[in-house]
């Protein structure tokens, strides 16, 4: 089993290299750079502009710039932010806990809603409840999460005045902290729940039609035992994939929701890096988020191995 995991880890290396390559050149493809942006706002002095370019290493040929960045990358150095002068890694790690917290809260909300409803919906197929759940999940899938966020703000912040409409503060076990988390987490979580619920339902239906489920019913096992001991575990495999992919993609997906709720995580940082043309920061962020995504899919693969022992035999 360790062998398989090791192989999977090795396979991510070329993907990571590709991601860093694409990230680097994509960002350089833009006409105009940070110096143009700075110069436009603050001064108009060709000599100083040249000096700035040298300072940022922008006068070097592209391949040299890439090499400098990439060799730094291998040593865990993502460069320094053009704007703040702080190490990019530091900027990212400062914001990461808030985004991680929001992501985890959203996933917990999503799974807590989706899995029970999906199972109930599948076991009582074509009942009124099933229809209700299916319609709700399709509608949920069609609602943009930022619109849901705006509606929640309108209702809970503007109308009822129960919760703040935005903001965030460092993690603490206090209402002062959690009151900010509730709305963005519900916003993100409920749009994920729709997808997870559909996956749980269809996967459960597929499993319930299998021979071994019929066998366990035939040998007189109670319905509860059949569903929870035999069917659920197997039907969770595709659900794990969906949740894993969501977790990885969620970091990127928080961009808009963080923006709506002024949540001070990575999503907010991304928007800042883009609007300020802060290449090193943007590069670092994209790479970091892609890495997170890749690590998440690795974890999903490992969970697979646990859930489906058949996979362990193949190398």
């Amino acid at each position: 089993m360790l062998h398989i995991i090791l192989l999977r880890v090795l396979a991510t290396i070329p993907v990571l290299f590709g991601v860093s390559l694409v990230t680097f050149f994509l960002i350089r493809a833009v006409p105009g750079d940070i110096v143009d942006a700075l110069a436009g706002e603050e001064f108009d002095n060709p000599e100083a502009i040249d000096q700035l370019r040298r300072l940022f290493g922008l006068d070097l040929p592209l391949y040299q710039q890439f090499w400098m960045w990439f060799s730094g990358l291998l040593q865990g150095d993502l460069g320094t932010s053009f704007r703040t002068g702080r190490p990019v890694l530091q900027e990212i790690l400062d914001r990461f806990p808030l985004t991680l917290e929001l992501t985890l809260a959203a996933l917990v909300i999503s799974v807590a809603i989706a899995v029970p409803l999906g199972v109930i919906s599948a076991t009582r197929r074509n009942s009124g409840l099933d229809m209700g759940v299916r319609v709700a999940s399709l509608v949920g899938l069609s609602i943009p999460n930022f619109w849901l966020g705006i509606l929640l703000i309108a209702f809970f912040s503007v109308h009822l005045r129960w919760l703040p409409s935005g903001g965030s503060n460092p993690f603490a076990f206090s209402w002062d902290h959690f009151q900010f988390l509730i709305l963005p987490a519900v916003t993100l979580g409920s749009s994920l729940a729709a997808e997870t619920m559909r996956m749980t339902r269809s996967s459960m239906l597929e499993v319930l039609a299998q021979d071994y489920v019929r066998t366990s019913r035939a040998k007189g096992l109670g319905e509860h035992l059949v569903i929870f001991r035999h069917a659920l575990r197997n039907s969770l495999i595709p659900v794990v994939t969906v949740v894993g992919i969501q977790a990885g993609a969620l970091l990127g997906g928080t961009v808009v929701v963080e923006q709506i709720f002024s949540w001070g995580g990575l999503g907010n940082l991304v928007v800042r890096a883009i609007s300020q043309r802060d290449y090193p920061l943007l590069q670092g962020l994209i790479l970091f988020l892609a890495l997170f995504y890749i690590v998440m899919s690795l974890i999903v693969d490992i969970i697979y191995l646990y859930l489906d022992p058949r996979l362990r035999r193949h190398g």
């Binding site: 590709g18 006409p31 309108a154 990127g252 709506i260």
Partner: protein, 294 residues
Amino acid sequence: MAEPALPAVAPTRASRPSILRIILRDRIALAGAILVAIMLIAAVFAPLLAPHVPTDINGRARLQGPSALFPLGTDELGRDLLSRALYGARVSLTVCVSVVTLAALIGVSIGLVAGYFGGLLDSVSMRLMDVIFAFPTILLALAVVSTLGTETRNLVLALTVVYVPAFARISRGAALSVAREPYVEAARSVGVGNFRIITRYVLPNITAPIVVQITLSLAYAILVESALSYLGLGVQPPEASWGSMLATGKVHIERSIWPSLVPGLFIVFTVLGFNLLGDALRDSLDPRLRAAIR
């Protein structure tokens, strides 16, 4: 050169119902198709349907609720929300339809060639798709738009890049299995060229998953496009798109809910339409799934 006579093996499953028939027979598909049709009509005939000019500012009618004059209310500059949303449909649908068309053309071509020929070509192109896949969707689109500038053309380009891998993967997988089928084998043995085999034998057999992917991608493209517009990276003012309308609506949410409500509802109806359609098509076109569910 005359074409050699081909073995009479039907490359397409004759029993598979046509898409139009599925839509007419299935209530869910029909509901989706109707929603999509309404939005298409709204987009095409926006100039005829809109009661006002979407960019007309009316200082005395700011942030009003629905009235006889302004059926869905007005925004912070007194512009008619219904008219803006109708014109917004043009923007959103044009962007999304172009994106999905381009992505399907490019992705399916890559996938077919990779799956049919296999080997190095296959591994290289699929690793490239993996790299694109490794980027979170919105982030990739954000990066492209922010580097190339916020023009509609760039928005289309950015979203196309995002959607190519999905089409490539689906068609590659399908091409891979179809290419090993006896009837393709047979065609090859009687000297049919690769191009002809791909377009005549492989492609018709993978239309079902592609059609489903197109419909569901359209739904998702609308969501991503409006998210980018919400962040200010889509269509630029004074032109209206649903996402940018929502962004300005949110600013004035303390005073009126209408500017936030109207564009959101348009988005939901459109996306729901595509989702209903895609779902129903998948259920009827994918025999494996049909066997599992029914």
